[in-house]
């Protein structure tokens, strides 16, 4: 079977961008209207969440909402 790339000498398409500093990473991406999320993690190992009071956070300027496990969202695999 003839392979297109296996066993062939080729330059991966992103190498030139990497050696010139032009390569963009996920962290570099900005889009109009983009929002940012932060993960709030548990301060204790193996704890149980009984209640979430997000009222203070929601009252802060710039906070557009919170997401919890109870929220409808994209299918998580």
């Amino acid at each position: 079977m003839a392979y297109t790339l296996i066993g062939k000498d080729f330059t991966p398409p992103d190498v030139r961008a990497k050696v010139t500093g032009r390569a963009k990473y996920a962290e570099d991406i900005r889009a109009e209207g983009m929002v940012f999320a932060r993960l709030l993690t548990s301060p204790v190992p193996h704890g149980r969440v009984n209640n979430i009071d997000a009222s203070e956070a929601l009252a802060m300027e710039g906070v557009i909402g919170i997401l919890t496990a109870d929220d409808e969202g994209p299918t998580v695999y």
Binding site: V15, R16, A17, K18, V19, T20, G21, A23
Partner: protein, 92 residues
């Protein structure tokens, strides 16, 4: 090295390395030919460290290159690939 220690100095970064017509520096070309980078995140720093070294010593032994690149950390451990690239650039 702290930024303020180079106040008033000319500072060259990866963006200023290519020639006026986009010609790659020997180190850049060697890294392409040797496939130095993996994810590429540390690559600009590796390149500039190598450029600094080769400008002060055009034909360094491998161990000297290793020391010169010692400050450039690579999460993926591509260190030998970068080392080979710089040795290739030095012999070009």
């Amino acid at each position: 090295m702290l930024t303020h220690t180079v106040r008033g100095q000319a500072i060259r970064t990866i963006e200023g390395l290519e020639g006026p017509n986009g010609e790659f520096h020997a180190v850049q070309q060697a890294m392409i030919d040797e496939l130095g980078p993996q994810c590429g995140f540390c690559t600009p720093g590796q390149v500039m460290s190598a450029v600094g070294l080769l400008e002060s010593n055009p034909s360094p032994p491998r161990e000297e290159v290793r020391q010169a690149l010692a400050g450039n950390l690579c999460r993926w451990g591509a260190y030998d690939h970068y080392l080979n690239s710089v040795m290739r650039a030095a012999s070009a």
